[in-house]
């Protein structure tokens, strides 16, 4: 029984000692100017003490060293029992400011927490296998620096300070705002929690490895709506005096400016405490579906592809708002009906990460072709060198 216990004890002490000389990953401790001065003072006084064998100097040295120990203990106590949680408020759109919230809670019983700061970073993220480390011996320094600075430039960094004391048992929230430059999957990371507490001798930074991967929707784009072309009603449909308030009620949507008061569903509005409008089956007669093709042969210019994605996102939102978006599809995937807001958000999430594909968007072998409406399908094609146009039933309906 004693041998395993002795072994465990040895392991514990070995770990503890290694923990002292080999800090945990992403944990940094740097002396500040005060710290450097203190260390210099300690060395000077220590040298003088040994030189003169003066116990007065040994006392001063012992006090300085114990102050350093106290600093470490207080710093540990300060961070102990503090929880943090990262929250991102969707949606995130390219070019628009996004807010990241950090919720803090101090679980200590009577010790408050002071003087923390939090380092955030946000940058594009691709889900892939981790890269194998490669030697940079053969690489030129300038290339390495250029790569590093490119990676750094793609990152948005920010530091937020906890300006007030975090009382025992209390909680606080901190916000960090950043602007994602382009669509895609963004990794928001709480890179570290730093503190100069208590005496400012050491700058301590603890890595947290808390991340959130969030899609960034394409930026809205301005476009021209061409009134000459519009979704066509199916032939043989009934002629109606007023469009939109006949047929079966197929759903409810939020009120939009210009909607008739007659269309308000009062009971549902009262229940939800906001105005809801009845949607009739007849309203779908001028709805359309969006079909996005990402054929790299079609979209040879990346910037034009980006414009196309932005236009598709903008049109999808406008059409949904107007209750005219029937379904969405990308390449050969299945048509997804756009009945609820979640459907639109799902489409925008897919748009956030869509990329040009090398092959035409044909369905994989063995899988049935998606049921695609033959009419009222909005497709996109390049227009000139920069522009993009949207076509419905072969007619141009919108262009950038």
């Amino acid at each position: 029984m004693s041998a395993p216990a002795g072994g465990a004890r040895r392991t514990f002490w070995r770990r503890a000692l290694w923990g002292l000389v080999w800090p945990r990953r992403r944990e940094r401790i740097q002396p500040t100017i005060s710290g450097v001065v203190l260390i210099g003072l300690s060395m000077g006084i220590g040298t003088a003490a040994y030189n003169s064998a003066s116990n007065i100097l040994f006392i001063a040295l012992a006090l300085l060293l114990s102050c350093l120990i106290l600093s470490g203990v207080l710093a540990w106590l300060n961070l102990r029992g503090v929880d943090w949680r990262l929250e991102v408020k969707p949606p995130l759109r390219a070019g628009q400011e996004a807010e990241v919230s950090l919720l803090l809670a101090n679980r200590k019983r009577f010790l408050p927490t002071y003087a923390l700061w939090f380092e955030f970073a946000a940058g594009p993220y691709e889900k892939r296998e981790p890269s194998r480390p490669e030697s940079t011996i053969t690489a030129k320094g300038i290339d390495v620096w250029a790569t590093l600075s490119r990676a750094e430039a793609a990152l948005s960094r920010g530091t937020v300070h906890l300006r007030t004391r975090l009382d025992p048992g209390g909680s606080a929230g901190l916000d960090w705002a950043f602007t994602p430059e382009r669509r895609g999957l963004v990794r928001i990371e709480l890179r570290g929690v730093g503190s100069l507490f208590p005496f400012g001798f050491l700058r301590k930074l603890t890595g947290t490895e808390i991340t959130r991967d969030v899609p960034v929707w394409p930026a809205p784009v301005e476009y021209r709506r061409l009134m000459g072309a519009a979704p066509r009603r199916p032939e043989g449909d009934l002629r109606r005096a007023r469009i939109g308030n006949e047929g079966d009620v197929i759903g409810l949507r939020h009120y939009a400016t210009g909607d008739s008061h007659r269309l308000v569903h009062w009971k549902a509005s009262a229940r939800k405490r906001r105005l809801l409008i009845r949607q009739f089956s007849s309203q779908n007669s001028d709805a359309c579906s969006i079909w996005l093709r990402t054929d790299a042969a079609l979209w040879r210019r990346p910037e034009q592809f980006e414009v196309m994605v932005s236009l598709a996102a903008t049109l999808a939102q406008d059409l949904f708002r107007a209750g005219r978006l029937q379904s969405t599809a990308i390449d050969g995937t299945r048509q997804i009906p756009a009945r609820r807001l979640a459907d639109l958000e799902s489409f925008l999430d897919r748009l956030a990460v869509v990329a040009p594909t090398q092959l035409p968007g044909t369905p994989p072998e063995g899988e049935p072709a998606p049921a695609r409406p033959r009419v009222n399908v909005m497709t996109f094609e390049p227009e000139g060198t920069r522009g993009v146009a949207a076509y419905v039933n072969g007619s141009k309906t919108a262009a950038t």
Partner: protein, 730 residues
């Protein structure tokens, strides 16, 4: 009314920073006053400036801009000039430090300036500590450390409150907002308002931990000494304050006795050897002339060449195991001659010293006046010897005879004075061939008969030597006159003699168990050569005879008469503790301490094991004992009492915690308690009230709603009671 925030605002933090910084500077500057480096005026000016800036934080804004522009060059120029004129590095640096602190005290400080204040202050404190080795240093460094840590903590919190921006230097000539409405009384009230006793207790505990860890580090830091040691004392020249120099004029020693401060403390390893009336010899003065004694060149040459060492091997009783070890702690400014009882076997300093030593005269002279306390240990020193063997003088005496000894027998007196002296000696009626002791006894008896002891002696005016005039008069005199007179009488009778100055007696500190010798114990006496014994006999005309002295009790009996239990003895015991345990702590002490710790740890472990085994045996025996009803009742009663005590302690703890929340219960809890006493339903309301009363604050329901419901419930039950009472009326 809006509640005031329970934390300090940024302005209040800056005010606190200014206040602590000022206190730190005042504490540091005050140390200069007892440094004896002629910087008192500058320190006073610095103190006044810092205090003014502290009292009126708006003041630094009124300092003209040109002062700030010229401050640094002016300070550097002053330092260079100071160094050039005085040629003393350390005092010049201290004055430079004072000027920098003054400047920081009258200008608004950024973070780096606060750091500079800490460093400058620490320099002054440490220099003062090294130079004075005073117990006050311990108190000062502790207070300084506490203040410095508070200052740095406040700076860090202020920086965090400003969003990571270090406190910036204020625009010159503009009063910063925190200084514009600084009110120390209000700040103190706010500090009391936001203070949490648990935090303060934690801070005090942590600081106690710092002191404890410092003590442990002090004990554990490995000690070894480098060569060519650096002494700060080298950069300061100091003069002896007591007057124990190579020459004295009559009255010098008496002047010293007016000073009641401590001259030195002596530890004795074996108090049973403590003499009742020790004579602490410091210097021998053998050349008389012009109304004073001085060290003759002959005797000076006996001191030999200067040596540098930490150990002196003497000619005392070699390997005298039975003799006690004496440890001396001589205060600065006493003398460069070390106090000794006589010859010794070995004298050890804490560190290498430059000294000269005369083994025959048992005199040790340091090269410089010690600027700080000097500690040394003496082994093999006889505590009650009344004679000092001098082989060199004996050889000279045998070789040359009285005719060849011009110094020890020299009388630089006029013929008239010689005649007068001769008449006095003839009046002693010393038989021819009498020994030195007999002559000395007769001479001392005559002196005691003819003169009384007084600290205000009177030497009659007139021609000739003043000492002879005093002897011929019947005036009272002090120890120097008595000792000098005996020397002249002995020399006139053909006995070599000289004056010895030093201290006599002292008190025994009942608390720290050591001799304490004050400057008021300064004394002068005579040593007369006894050719029969080849030794100098100690003769003190103001003391009882040597024979009686030998008969005096020793050890505990002797100490009982010297025992000092006064308050000053209590304070001095602290000083001795400081010297023994801190200042005099060396490598050997470290080894001894570690060995003692190891022994204590080993013993305590063994003791713990034995105690545990014994306790286990007792418990086992108790369980095996016969169990009857009375015993069962006793056990049950004990268990109940323990439970009740536990409940009481937890209740007390809750009450203490409630006291901690500002000396009273939380108002919400108090209000909930009141409603609980008045409301007896419904169940949900009672549960809510109980949660408000006893539950943790984060789980509380909204207090206002609960109290409103409680009010309704209480009024409802009141109405129903009233209705029931009305209905029950006949």
């Amino acid at each position: 009314m809006e509640a005031r925030p329970q934390r300090l605002s940024l302005d209040e933090l800056h005010q606190l920073r200014w206040l602590i910084g000022g206190a730190l500077m005042i504490l540091s500057v005050a140390t200069v006053f007892y440094l004896d480096i002629d910087s008192g005026i500058m320190a006073a000016v610095a103190l006044a400036g810092i205090a003014a800036g502290l009292a009126r934080p708006r003041l630094p804004a009124r300092v003209p801009a040109w002062v700030h522009r010229l401050a640094f060059p002016a300070i550097v120029l002053f330092f260079a000039g100071d160094l050039r004129v005085t040629g003393q590095l350390l005092p010049a640096i201290v004055r430079l430090d004072l000027m920098l602190l003054l400047y920081r005290g009258i200008s608004y400080r950024a973070r780096r300036d606060d750091l500079q204040v800490v460093v400058l202050g620490l320099f002054l404190i440490v220099v003062a500590g090294v130079l004075t080795v005073s117990l006050l240093f311990a108190a000062q460094i502790l207070v300084f450390t506490a203040c410095a840590l508070c200052l740095l903590l406040v700076v860090t919190i202020a920086e965090s409150t400003e969003g990571g921006q270090a406190p910036k230097l204020a625009v010159r000539g503009v009063v910063p907002p925190w200084a514009a409405h600084a009110d120390w009384g209000r700040l103190w009230a706010r500090l009391r308002e936001v203070a949490d006793w648990r935090l303060l207790a934690s801070a005090a505990g942590l600081f106690g931990g710092v002191v404890l860890v410092s003590g442990l580090l002090f004990l554990a830091i490995p000690r070894f000494q480098l060569e060519n040691s650096l002494f700060l004392e080298r950069f300061v020249t100091k003069r002896a304050m007591t007057g124990f120099n190579d020459s004295i004029k009559f009255g010098d020693i008496t002047e010293i006795t007016q000073d009641d401060s401590i001259a030195f403390n002596v530890d004795l390893s074996d108090p049973s050897q403590a003499p009742r009336s020790p004579y602490w010899r410091m210097i021998v003065l053998d050349q008389y002339g012009n109304g004073g004694f001085k060290l003759s060149p002959v005797l000076r040459s006996e001191l030999g060449r200067e040596r540098t060492s930490a150990n002196i091997l003497g000619v005392g009783a070699t390997g005298a195991r039975g003799l006690a070890t004496w440890t001396f702690y001589v205060e600065s400014g006493v003398s460069r001659y070390l106090p000794l009882l006589g010859n010794f076997w070995a004298l050890r300093f804490r560190e290498a010293q430059n000294f000269r030593y005369s083994p025959d005269m048992a005199i040790v002279s340091l090269r410089d006046e010690p600027a700080s306390m000097t500690a040394f240990r003496v082994e093999g020193m006889s505590p009650d010897s009344t004679e000092l063997h001098d082989r060199q003088f004996a050889a000279m005496w045998r070789k040359r005879g009285p005719a060849g000894l011009h110094v020890q027998l020299g009388l630089q007196l006029s013929e008239a004075d010689r005649a007068a002296l001769g008449r006095i000696v003839a009046g002693l009626a010393v038989p021819a061939g009498a020994g030195a002791q007999e002559f000395a006894d007769r001479a001392m008896a005559w002196l005691r008969r003819s003169h009384r002891y007084s600290l205000s002696p009177r030497i009659p005016d007139g021609p000739g030597d003043p000492l002879v005039r005093w002897m011929a008069s019947g005036e009272s005199g002090h120890c120097e006159l008595f000792a000098g007179a005996l020397v002249l009488m002995a020399r006139s009778a053909g006995y070599p003699a000289h004056v010895v100055t030093g201290f006599k007696g002292g008190t025994w500190n009942a608390y720290s168990g050591n001799y304490t010798i004050r400057n008021s114990d300064a004394h002068a006496w005579t040593e007369v050569w006894d050719s029969g014994r080849d030794a100098w006999l100690r003769e003190d005309p103001l003391a009882v005879s040597a024979a009686s002295e030998l008969a005096l009790e020793k050890g505990d009996a002797a100490l009982a008469g010297l025992m000092d239990r006064s308050w000053s003895a209590r304070l001095n015991s602290l000083r001795v503790f400081w010297y023994r345990r801190i200042v005099n702590f060396d490598q050997q002490s470290q080894v001894d301490t570690l060995r003692a710790v190891r022994d204590v740890t080993g013993n305590s472990g063994r003791w713990l094991r034995e105690a545990t085994a014994a306790a286990a045996g007792r418990i086992k025996a108790w369980f095996r004992g016969p169990w009857d009803l009375a015993r069962l009742v006793r056990v049950a009663g004990t268990v109940l009492a323990a439970v009740a005590a536990g409940w009481g302690i937890s209740n007390l703890r809750w009450r203490i915690a409630s006291v901690g929340r500002g000396g009273r219960t939380d108002p919400v809890r108090r209000e909930a308690g009141r409603w609980l006493a008045r409301v007896d339903g419904p169940q949900a309301l009672v549960a809510d009230l109980q949660r408000l009363r006893y539950g943790p604050a984060p789980t509380w329901p909204r207090p206002a709603d609960v109290f409103r419901n409680a009010r309704r419930a209480a009024s409802g039950s009141r109405r129903s009671r009233r209705r029931a009472a009305w209905q029950s009326r006949p």
